[in-house]
Amino acid sequence: MKNTIAERVFDFLKDFPPFNLLSKSKVLEIASEVKIIYLEKGKVLFNQNDTNHNHFYVVRNDGISLYKNSENEKTLIDTCDGGDVFGLRPLISKENYLLDAIANEESIVYGIPITIFETEIENNIKVNKYLITSFASKSFDPYTSEQNNNVFTDYITKDNLATTNLHSVNYTKKPLKCSVKSTIKEAAIKMSTQKIGCIVVVDEACMPIGIITNSDIKNKIATGLFPIDASVKKIMSSPVITQSKNLTVLDAQLQMIKHNVGHLCITEDGTSNSKLIGILTNHDVLASLGNNPTVILKEIKRAKKIKEIRNTRNKANQLLKSYLEQNIPLSHISKIISEINDGVTIRVIELSLKKMDTPPPVEFSWLALGSQGRKEQLLYTDQDNALIFEDVDKNQLEETKNYFLKLAGHITKYLHKIGYEYCPAEMMASNPKWCLSLTEWKNQFNNWIINVDEKAILLSSIFFDYNHIYGKSSMAKELTKSIFKTLNERNLLFMYLGKEAIASPSPLGFFKQFLVENNGDKKDSFNIKKRALMPLINAARLLVLSKNISEINNTAQRFERLAELEPQNKELYQSCSYAFKALLKFKTKQGILHNDSGKFIQLESLTKEEKLKLKRTFKPIREIQEVLSVRFNLKA
């Protein structure tokens, strides 16, 4: 039978995502089950903490505002206009609503029944992605980032549930074990040297009889309940839960929940009366569920071979890709990816130290420079790093330096193997110029600052963005202090840094066209790093240095801090911060697309909208350059 109203609902829905991604018949089916809801101005559709509705919503006319309530504050998160979807939480998780939805005008919304829609999102990746994007963009409140971490896990698990749940789990094949005759101390030493949080206690026939985890040691030993030379039998949990090796992920999870344990012992026949062949931890289950930053970090920390680190680091690239596709704010993305990059470096240093014949003669600090130092490194880029070692006697200097050069050689080689290219300018700790004692470094910087020459500036500017990664952090702090002290005595440096910051003119030419490279194999492509990112990076660095701010290395954060310090320029600094994030995202997306660093952009490959977007971010570049030339007297 004809249903004119359903047809009109269909006509409206069919043009808007996610409905435009569905088949016509599906949209019609949905349209004929829609609820058309009239809301007077100020009427509440749902409140924060309300239980989930059976519908999610599409605005038909006028607007719905979404608010987040906290303490006494009500923050506007988003306003939805015609065609926007909202109230997606019931589709994604079973939690109650986290926002208020209130009509800001007299409005009509369509309620889309979730039961009809659900079959679709499980099978349709595009729809899934779209909904998650809208969901993520609405649930993210830029000011309370930490609380929203669960958003990641929310959809990552959902995404993978259908396919991974029925796979068999990857358990650890060589579990750490000890005999029933061992003492607690012996067991604990094994755990500590292998960096593993649990050990299985086995009998003579290698059958599992108990398990000891970190928390047993914490709760039963550290509290003084048992002495460390007592038998492992005193503190082990027994009996253990055993399973056979063909366990599915879903089963494993169920077993863990059912028995309230975090570890399952895998035995030959699945009973406790056969040989132990492996162990399955909560973490293994999580890892099977897919890309999760925590899991990636843990895997990196435990990696024994460079190849393992490389494979895990590649997972992070997948993660990066999906975050970008889902429009997760760049500040979150870069935080996560920086953590992972730092984790990789730390593990590489640990493995390199093992390769050395002797432990380091003195303490040292490993610094990340450049983009990693600024926590802006999203894709694999060149490695820029440096090493500081503690001061030693003059006669030992050469020997000490040689040790650290050798160590740095291992580290940079490993990093290269993982995917971080060598720095073409050789700004790496394996270069004797960048592997110095603390005093040498101080002198080096003082020299740069006092006897400025333009070439030194380029070299030194990268050093103002360093980030301590490994070793003794107090040395890096001392160096910073020394640099600032010298800076305060001289301000010629600022002028040179300023000149560099305005050296690249606005990326747009006189006729508002893009300034492209005019020679080399990148001819006619646009260098987004040199023309757009670097001017902002340089400006931010100069401005914070001139204000004696240390410890903020990230360009976007630097601008945000500057906005706090100079209310009169707040808007400009904020737009710089925004432009920087937008440009970095752009570069990263281009990099993923072309599988390179994303530095050079083929203009003809951009859509008109993308070009416009790019041009919009250039406006603050020109303005900030004007501020610099006035403030540091650069035009004179």
Binding site: K2, T4, A6, R8, V9, K35, L39, E106
Partner: protein
């Protein structure tokens, strides 16, 4: 005389078809409910003309409104086969005598309609005309008139306007309402389209009348 009358009544009642008896019973069982819980059926008919004696219903469209919400799956739309056909009104409603739309008999349409509306409150723009057209169908089938309570959006709209702007003689058309209440006029002059526009108008007028949350059902009826 009295006996004879009773007998006659009984006979008439006995002769009523089941579908009408069921309809009558649902009306008798109607409970008093607050506005938010009341089921309103907003409906409209397209006819061959304006005379309830000589013109015929070509289609009935209706939507149900409960608690400010229209459920699309609780809507009603039928097209009726008629012998009477007036070419001059075709440009208005667009229903051809032998069009491609599936049509059913007047009686079948009536049965479906009564089952759909039950004891709901009927709402329409200048509803008396539409009710009269349905009553004529009932009459042709030897049945009593509709028993539902009715609300006229034309009357209600006038009532929602400030006393200063209420013009007693003015007859607001559905187009006037759409313009003043800012409602899109797509599907105007199809029964379902008009029913939908009327439903939205009805909800908007209700919210204007209910400024201090004290609106009662009896305020909506003409006295």
């Amino acid at each position: 005389m009295t006996m004879k009358f009773n007998l006659f009544r009984k006979k008439e009642k006995h002769n009523l078809p089941t579908y009408f008896k069921e309809y009558q019973e649902s009306i008798l069982k109607t409970q008093k409910l607050p506005i938010a819980e009341t089921r309103f059926i907003v409906f409209d008919t397209e006819t061959t003309g304006f005379s309830h004696k000589t013109d015929r219903v070509l289609s009935i469209g209706a939507v149900a409104v409960i608690n400010n919400t229209i459920n699309v799956n609780d809507s009603f739309e039928v097209y009726v086969k008629q012998q009477i056909f007036k070419a001059e009104t075709v440009p208005i409603h667009g229903i051809l005598k032998e069009g491609r739309i599936d049509k059913i008999t007047e009686l079948a349409a009536l049965k479906l309609f009564l089952k759909y509306i039950n004891n709901a409150v009927l709402v329409g723009h200048h509803i008396n005309f539409d009710v009269q057209m349905i009553n004529e169908i009932l009459k042709r089938n030897k049945l009593p008139k509709l028993l539902n309570k009715t609300i006229d959006t034309g009357y209600l709209f006038k009532k929602s306007k400030h006393i200063v702007y209420q013009i007693e003689e003015k007859n607001y058309t559905l187009d006037n309402l759409s313009d003043e209440l800012n409602i899109s006029k797509s599907d105007r002059h199809t029964a379902s389209g008009d029913a939908y526009i009327t439903a939205i108008a009805f909800l908007k007028i209700l919210s204007r009348l209910n400024t201090n949350d004290t609106l009662k059902f009896r305020d909506l009826l003409k006295n």
